[in-house]
């Protein structure tokens, strides 16, 4: 028995050591798992779907809207990846100032893979750029949407702008509550939406046909940027009016660059003063006769209409003030 008791004492010591050794192993294992967890290639996890959560725009997508639930996570696209979503059309957005796009889908939770409404929210950086893509994408056709600062309802969709955001909603179901959802989104935008799109009124030169926004190099002139151009139908003529909105100093700079360019090209320009307004009439061998004038807030002009014919609407427009909010179809 003495031997056995002796053995027990030895074993007790051995077990004591084993216990310590075994317990010491656990923090090592835990540390190893943690350490391994921190070593990874972020590129492997950086796919577009997950990255959407990093965008502050995601907060604008409510979990529920008008009885529909948001299905899955929102998806985010930036300048590099936009072509994955709107390939063939991505350049249109990028050249108009695009910053990011977040896409959310809404439907019934029990039909998770079948969205009823897809909401594309483009952050264009500035209200002017948002306006540019609104009018540039499919023109300013369709009935007024009554959502945001300006928008159009289409057969299965709704497009509108609010502040720097351009929102495009596509319905896959008759009767999807697009308008109400759009209004909820505008509400969620809160302060963001308050920064109203600037006035994009034009003189009433005729029946508006289309409006587009040209971010850079209007008519090939490298100093002529951020132009809103609207075409009008007048009889069988097409008129193209343009305007650039900016600070007084910027407008002045544009005016002097335009004049310098015309002088350099030896294109005749006549300075006219008419009822208190200063205008420049250009006899352009390539573009025909056109004119422009500068106000405090903008530089505006038109191609394809003689100044005489343009005078009344132009005068009315300047008198009405340029800061008013635009109506969708001028």
């Amino acid at each position: 028995m003495a031997g056995i008791r002796g053995a027990t004492r030895q074993e007790s010591v051995g077990v004591g050591r084993a216990r310590v050794g075994l317990l010491a192993l656990l923090p090592l294992i835990a540390w190893g798992v943690y350490w391994e967890g921190q070593r990874y290639d972020p590129g492997l996890l950086d796919f577009k779907n997950a990255a959407a959560r990093l965008s502050p725009l995601v907060a604008l997508f409510p979990e529920r809207a008008e009885g529909l639930a948001r299905l899955g996570e929102t998806r985010r696209f930036d300048r590099e990846s936009l072509h994955e979503y709107v390939n063939g059309h991505a350049e249109f957005f990028i050249s108009a100032g695009f910053k990011e796009l977040v896409v959310g889908e809404y439907g019934l939770p029990q039909e998770a893979s079948r969205p009823k409404v897809v909401v594309d929210l483009y952050d264009m950086g500035k209200p002017l750029f948002a306006f540019g893509v609104l009018t540039g994408e499919g023109g300013d056709g369709g009935p007024e949407a009554g959502v945001g600062e300006m928008g159009f309802a289409e057969s299965r969709g709704l497009r509108f702008i609010s502040g720097p955001y351009y929102v495009k909603m596509t319905a896959f179901d008759e009767g999807a509550p697009l308008k109400a959802m759009g209004q909820a989104l505008v509400k969620a935008m809160g302060q963001a939406g308050v920064a109203k799109a600037q006035g994009f009124r034009f003189p009433e030169f005729g029946k508006p046909l289309a409006t587009r926004f040209i971010k850079e190099n209007y008519r090939g002139l490298d100093f002529f940027d951020q132009v809103v151009e609207r075409s009008f139908q007048r009889g069988d003529q097409t008129i193209q009016a343009f305007q650039v909105m900016g600070s007084e100093a910027r407008n002045l700079e544009l005016e002097s660059k335009l004049l310098a360019f015309l002088k350099g090209e030896e294109i005749p320009v006549e300075r006219l003063e008419k009822e208190g307004l200063v205008l420049f009439q250009v006899q352009d061998p390539y573009e025909g006769e056109w004119f422009f004038l500068r106000t405090q807030e903008q530089v505006i002009g038109a191609f394809g209409i003689p100044l005489d014919a343009a005078w009344t609407p132009l005068k009315e427009f300047v008198n009405r003030g340029q800061t008013q909010h635009d109506e969708p179809r001028s």
Binding site: I4, L26, K48, G72, E84, V86, P109, T170
Partner: protein, 516 residues
């Protein structure tokens, strides 16, 4: 001596916690570099089965040696100290059992039915030896991962416990998968650790290794007064009160603690230690079972399956090996389905034949393969899905071609612009390839009611299509999409090709699996 039971409990809590943590970390947003398949890598049955079928040991599986080698010396410590299913069984048995002593003695005695696990192990190893990897069906680690991933966690999500998708994930046949685990857990109500004692093939493998262990539970016959307290506490049906069956002993150390006379210890034999009993196995029965398995393997392959004939709906995740090699490696653990951010990966039922039961398939009605995602290959513990880089998947330099999962086809009878004169370009908009695999032709038509309609009618350019399935997933024709992906053209197969399309030059040659 009883201190070892305390250490075992700490280990059990630690490894159960680690299992839970790794499950939690397996959600794609938390994934980072965590070895979410750590338990599978530690699993000797996974390693052995995969070695027999593929004749290679994929890197992480070498960790299994950390379990196997100590088992040869120390016994089946894995079963009570590390195995999450074993630990859960143990906890439930403890909760369920409120028996009188005499009933516990009866219940805890070794029974001949406990040999079944060895026969199951033989069957699985013979299958593996003949190239059919079915260990994952019954391997406890694969089983518990699969059950949690494909059934229990989605059920918790649905019950409002938060989710890894914004909506609860859905899995094809998940209830069957979860049902197996629930049955195993409920069996503890009848017999303590019934699964571990009677059915677990990993336990059988470890028990077989434990035959030669030097360190064991030993009983000092002089000190023992035959009170049978040890038998009452035994988790493994190892008969500690008699000639101990160390192949059945899970090293729970309960018996040592229960013994009032300190007759039991864990360690080397003393001069008065009782003898042990050898593995209880009938050799003749083993041979019979092995022969039955030899016959069963060709039977399981005699059904129509993608191993023999390309099957349109068997679309495997990006990086998957050719079908025969894929089946030789996939252990049906469901890790890939756990990390997939779109829920597109679903467990097969019989779509991929019997051998493909619970292996991953893409079901585009549920999700789609995210263009820049390669997670499934990163977590697959056996490289059934090879780890790809994003560049390799999308075919960015230095790679020349993207990985293709299949090809999309229009069903013009269902497509809105083709069949209903309704404008729609959802598929073209969502197609992620550059240039897009879907293009359209603008046509002006007069509809039946005399309206002039301008439509963009879409087409697929097959050599550009990667089979990601987003078009199918987003198609507004809801029940059966008007564009659907089938497996033809998948990169992993040299045969699954549109044979008459050779002149367009998109038929690939040999397949480089990257595994040598």
């Amino acid at each position: 001596m009883g201190g070892l039971r305390g250490v075992r409990r700490i280990y059990a809590a630690f490894f159960l916690g680690l299992f839970g943590f790794l499950l939690w970390a397996g959600e794609f947003e938390r994934l980072k570099g965590f070895e979410v398949g750590l338990f599978l890598q530690l699993d000797p049955l996974t390693a052995l089965g995969g070695f027999l079928t593929s004749h290679t040991l994929y890197k992480g599986l070498a960790l299994a040696l950390l379990i196997l080698i100590p088992t040869l010396f120390l016994g089946r410590f894995f079963c009570s100290w590390i195995c999450p299913l074993g630990i859960v069984n143990q906890v439930l048995s403890h909760i369920f059992h409120r028996r009188r002593a005499v009933e516990s003695w009866e219940e805890n005695r070794y029974r001949p039915v406990y040999r079944v696990k060895y026969y199951l192990l033989v069957v699985l190893l013979v299958f593996a030896g003949l190239g059919s990897l079915q260990t994952g069906l019954l391997d406890p680690i694969a089983l518990i991962y699969r059950s949690f991933t494909l059934s229990l966690l989605p059920a918790v999500d649905r019950a409002g416990g938060g989710g890894w998708f914004a909506l609860p994930a859905v899995f094809h046949g998940g209830v069957l998968i979860g049902g197996v685990l629930l049955a195993i857990l409920l069996a503890n109500r009848l017999i303590t650790r019934f699964w571990c004692r009677a059915l677990c093939p990993l336990g059988a493998l470890l028990g077989w290794c434990a035959q030669w262990s030097l360190w064991r539970i030993r009983r000092d016959v002089d000190r023992c007064n035959q009170c049978k307290q040890c038998l009452r506490a035994c988790q493994g049906a190892a008969d500690p009160d008699g000639a101990l069956r160390h192949t059945e002993c899970h090293l729970c150390m309960n018996c040592i603690e229960a013994c009032g006379t300190q007759a039991l210890h864990y360690g080397l034999a003393g001069s008065r230690s009782s003898i042990g009993r050898p593995l209880d196995l009938n050799r003749r029965r083993v041979v019979e079972v092995a022969l039955a398995a030899v016959v069963a393997v060709p039977m399981t392959r005699s059904t129509l399956s993608p191993r023999s004939t390309p099957t349109p709906e068997v679309i495997r995740p990006p990086g998957s090996l050719p079908e025969a090699q894929f089946l030789a490696r996939c252990i049906k653990c469901g890790l890939c389905m756990r990390v997939c951010p779109t829920n597109v990966l679903q467990p097969a039922l019989l779509e991929a034949g019997f051998e493909g039961l619970w292996t991953p398939l893409l079901m585009n009605a549920v999700g789609y393969c995210e263009h820049h995602c390669v997670l499934c290959g990163q977590v697959c513990p056996t490289a059934a899905i090879r780890p790809l880089s994003v560049a390799e998947k999308v075919g960015a330099p230095p790679f020349t071609k993207p990985v293709r999962l299949g090809t999309a086809f229009f069903d013009r009878g269902r497509c809105l612009p083709w069949a209903m004169d309704v404008p729609c370009i959802v598929c073209e908009e969502t197609c992620p390839t550059s240039p897009k695999a879907i293009w359209y032709e603008t046509v002006a038509i007069t509809s039946r009611d005399g309206r002039k309609v301008t439509l963009k009618r879409p087409f697929v350019q097959p050599e550009l299509c990667i089979g990601c399935g987003i078009c199918e997933n987003k198609c507004p024709v809801t029940d059966l999409a008007a564009i659907r992906v089938s497996s033809v053209g998948e990169s992993r197969s040299g045969d699954n090709r549109m044979l008459l399309n050779q002149q367009s030059g998109w038929i690939e040659g040999t397949i480089d699996t990257g595994l040598g």
